[in-house]
């Protein structure tokens, strides 16, 4: 059992960085390529989660708890963002009957 714990440590920090950047990029691609507003918001959640994972990894790396505390604030931010964003989506859907992002181009010049 102890060997498993020993194995869990010792992963290069580089790999955490790489994993987080891959998932962040997947989130960016999702935002850029999808037109469904809900999936765009889910991609934003993916990006936030990638950052959370990196903050936790750095916090363990430096032996400092502030990184993990910061994740709480990111989570509070994500909850607030999701609540307001989904309320906006519901309002838009009620008025336009569509969740296509292109139905929101009225503000475009």
């Amino acid at each position: 059992m102890e060997t498993i714990v020993k194995d869990m440590q010792g992963i290069p920090l580089n790999h955490y960085l790489l994993l987080s950047s891959v998932i962040f990029s997947i989130g960016v691609i999702g935002v850029l390529t999808r037109r469904n507003v809900i999936i765009i918001m889910m991609s934003i959640e993916l990006m936030l989660n990638a950052v959370n994972l990196l903050l936790a990894a750095f916090s363990v790396y430096h032996g400092d708890a502030s990184g993990q505390v910061f994740v709480f604030f990111v989570m509070a931010l994500a909850a607030a963002e999701v609540a307001v964003g989904l309320a906006i989506i519901v309002m838009v859907y009620r008025n336009t009957r569509s969740i296509d992002i292109n139905s929101l181009n009225k503000l475009k010049w």
């Binding site: 714990v5 989570m75 509070a76 609540a83």
Partner: protein, 125 residues
């Protein structure tokens, strides 16, 4: 039991085991009933059951907005709770100061809750 000071991921092994048992039970019962049970597929059996009445329309009816309000407020208060756990664990060492800080936090959220009640967002009319 009290020595939770240097807990490691290994301490989560019982939880993992329990989840494995739960998932395994669900999967095996579903697969098992598929394998064991007799299969008679008629028109009436395959149609969805609606108290004997013919099925009308799509199953994907839009849900009422009231549920959404409840869900949103649940998310907000859920996030509030994650700030309360660290406070509750450190309650003694933080003392009076921590209590006041938490009261400010709770007071601001209570303000929002009063707004919600005043706005009748949670009422089912």
């Amino acid at each position: 039991m009290e020595a939770a000071t240097n807990s490691t991921p290994v301490d989560y092994l019982p939880i993992l085991l329990q989840m494995l048992v739960a998932v395994g039970f669900g999967v095996t019962t579903i697969i098992g009933t598929h394998l064991i049970g007799p299969k008679l597929r008629t028109e009436n059996k395959l149609s969805s059951f609606e108290s004997g009445i013919e099925v009308i329309g799509n199953a994907r009816q839009p849900v009422s907005i009231k549920y959404f309000m409840v869900a949103i407020l649940f998310v907000i208060f859920d996030v509030e709770v994650i700030f309360m756990y660290p406070w509750a664990v450190n309650f003694r060492s933080l003392g009076m100061e921590g209590l006041i800080e938490m009261f400010i936090f709770m007071g601001l959220l209570l303000l929002g809750f009063i707004y919600v009640i005043k706005k009748r967002a949670l009422e089912w009319d």
